[in-house]
């Protein structure tokens, strides 16, 4: 029974995708996918509850034990990520169902979303470097297909950097995996961790960690290799964009946490310092890019980068407190960011465009949507007591404690500029007195769409006001992550 539950986060989306592909264009596929997403969320929450304060749960695939076979390990951090992924996927799917009537929806969209979720979940669960590569490939191939599924000529051109840079990233990942195997004779996380301790402080370990930083930094969208992201995300249909914005780059951040927190030894001063400074640059360049855009999804896409900067900065500061801050920030960010993309999608339906020159009058027409946007935008900017404040606060406290004044200044500046660019959306879409194409409130579908965004807003308010609970979870997840001896012992000699 335990084996079944541990395999479910991967099996459920995979089986759903297969059934959806065979179902073609039949109507019940929409009910099936909504039901499946709901069950996935339930399974992930059960796993998260089981992981709190407990040793990680291990599933040895095919019955082959840890250093030789491939194992899936679900600890608290992995379970949190699974739950967030399931929540975002559920919101994206429900929003998509509300947005398009069944006959207008491309029949491949839902199965591809499920394949994407399969890859994301596998990346969260795996404790093997090559299996992680496979998970990335499953995820990326599904994402290439989704990106270009409903694209026209211009969109394809925007998608090209995404494809090219991710292919380069995958190649580098493979090189890094080969180097790792050459250095440690294994790709299992626990065995690498054990053998890496002996190499602590040697130049080859520093080199390998820099390579990992390049690869996963690229996947996360860290400066200077972020160029694949800001132009490709706006071409996506809004529900899919919400899923991408919430989850895809966060997989990169998660792997950075996993590799630097758990697999590699903690004393790598150069890579950590480099990570923190690159993160500061990502923050500033991301938010400046956001300020320069004048359509909602473009602004939001650049914002992903600037927010990634905060998380990576927290990892770079590298104390238990900072890692807990990074984990809390991920929880907050995934919910808020995907909600903002959903709000953007609703604006497109109401105003027929999300070009801020042509949108407007939405505060008069739909104050509810305005409130949803305002809450999430202020949360993104870090206004207390909303969820974004706590993560930023912890990161800045840690920066002050380590007396990294420039980094702290960058984080504060990025926060102010975030507020500025959010005000730009507010002024353009909600406050502006005229809308070029009018406000189409007679389109009934905007109500369920706004309701999905509202549901996510409730979750994000819960994170803000229940911050104590979520902080405790984040601290526990960081503690589990940093307790490397226990992890190694448990995987190689004890449980499973």
């Amino acid at each position: 029974m335990k084996a079944l539950v541990l395999a479910l986060p991967i099996l459920l989306p995979l089986l759903t995708a297969i059934v959806l592909l065979l179902a073609g264009r039949r109507r019940w596929r929409r009910w099936l996918v909504a039901l499946s997403a709901l069950v996935q969320l339930g399974v992930a929450l059960v796993l998260a509850q089981g992981a709190y304060g407990q040793p990680p749960q291990v599933l040895a695939l095919g019955g082959w034990a840890a250093p030789y076979g491939i194992v899936l390990v679900i600890d608290l951090l992995a379970a949190i990520m699974l739950a967030l992924g399931a929540l975002t996927a559920l919101a994206a799917i429900l929003f998509g169902l509300a947005e398009l009537p069944p006959e207008d929806e491309n029949p491949l969209r839902l199965p591809l979303i499920q394949f994407l979720v399969t890859g994301i979940n596998l990346a969260f669960c795996t404790a093997d470097l090559f299996n992680l590569f496979v998970a990335f490939e499953v995820m990326l191939i599904a994402s290439y297909a989704l990106l270009t599924l409903e694209a026209d000529d211009w969109d394809i051109k925007q998608a090209f950097p995404y494809l090219a840079l991710n292919l380069v990233g995958s190649t580098l990942f493979l090189v890094a995996a080969g180097l790792t195997y050459g250095m440690f004779g294994s790709l299992n996380f626990a065995l690498i961790a054990e053998r890496a301790d002996a190499l602590a402080g040697t130049p080859q370990l520093t080199l390998l960690s820099l390579l990992f930083l390049t690869v996963f930094g690229m996947k996360a969208g860290v400066f200077p290799l972020f160029y694949w992201l800001p132009n490709s995300y706006p071409i996506l249909p809004s529900p899919v964009a919400a899923l991408y914005a919430g989850m895809l780059t966060k997989v990169g951040v998660y792997v950075l946490l996993r590799i630097f927190g758990q697999v590699l030894p903690p004393d790598l001063p150069l890579p950590h310092l480099l990570m923190a400074w690159l993160a500061a640059a990502t923050m500033i360049f991301g938010v400046l890019g956001a300020v320069s855009r004048n359509f909602i999804r473009g602004i939001l896409s650049f914002h992903i980068l600037s927010q990634i900067g905060y998380m990576v900065l927290a990892i770079g500061l590298f104390t238990p407190y900072a890692l807990a801050a990074a984990i809390f920030y991920i929880i907050h960010h995934i919910v808020v960011k995907s909600t903002l993309f959903l709000v953007g999608g609703t604006v497109v339906v109401l105003n027929r465009t999300d070009d801020l020159e042509k949108t407007g009058r939405l505060w008069l027409a739909t104050p509810v949507l305005g409130v949803i946007f305002l809450l999430q935008a202020l949360s993104l900017a870090g206004i207390p007591p909303l969820s974004g404040f706590w993560g930023k606060y912890m990161i800045i406290v840690e920066g002050v404690r380590q007396q990294e004044w420039v980094l702290v200044f960058c984080a504060l500046l990025a926060g102010v500029l975030t507020l500025f660019s959010m005000l730009k959306i507010w002024n353009g879409a909600f406050w502006a007195a005229s809308a070029k194409e009018g406000v189409h409130t007679e389109e009934r579908r905007w109500r369920p769409m706004a309701a999905v965004a509202g549901g996510m807003t409730v979750v994000s308010l819960g994170i803000g006001f229940g911050a104590e609970f979520f902080l405790r979870v984040a601290h526990e997840a960081a503690r589990q992550l940093l307790d490397r001896p226990a992890y190694i012992d448990f995987l190689l000699r004890g449980g499973g």
Partner: protein
Amino acid sequence: MKTGDSYIFRSVASFLFFVINVFAVYLLLRGHNLPGGGFIGGLGSALSLIMLSMAYGVREAQKVLRVDPVRLATVGLLLAVVTGMLPLFLGEPFLRHFHWKFDGLPLLGKLEVGTPLLFDIGIFLVVVGVTAKMIFVLFRSISGLTALNPSEWRRYSADLEEPVEREHSRSSSELETEDGP
């Protein structure tokens, strides 16, 4: 690209088609303990379809495959996943495999079979399906056809969408008549 204009190539291709597929199945069957397996076998089989597309044109190759390659790959994936899931219901871990040995069978003699074969057949179908899908699209585009044939178009597109090819005003009559009665 002009296809199907070499009599020699066509004759050799229709003969080699069978040889390649027998070899592909051979690779598939010997796969578990020796070099081979579903992936490489599937690539071999897909190679025979590429050859047919070059010799006879892509439409003939699609008729030889008969089924929609996407469905073929999906069924293969289902077979592989279900094979992996079977042990879960017996309390064993995911992807655990079982083997049986038979002795003294008529004609075959000693035989070892196991669930990895089912898994490999699934992989075989996935690889044939995915590769066939890609090469059919590529061959169709270089021989001036639309990327999807009408039955695929009905299955994998939404009502709102228009074929990209139509916008460039390629002879749309071809789209209507192809695969028709």
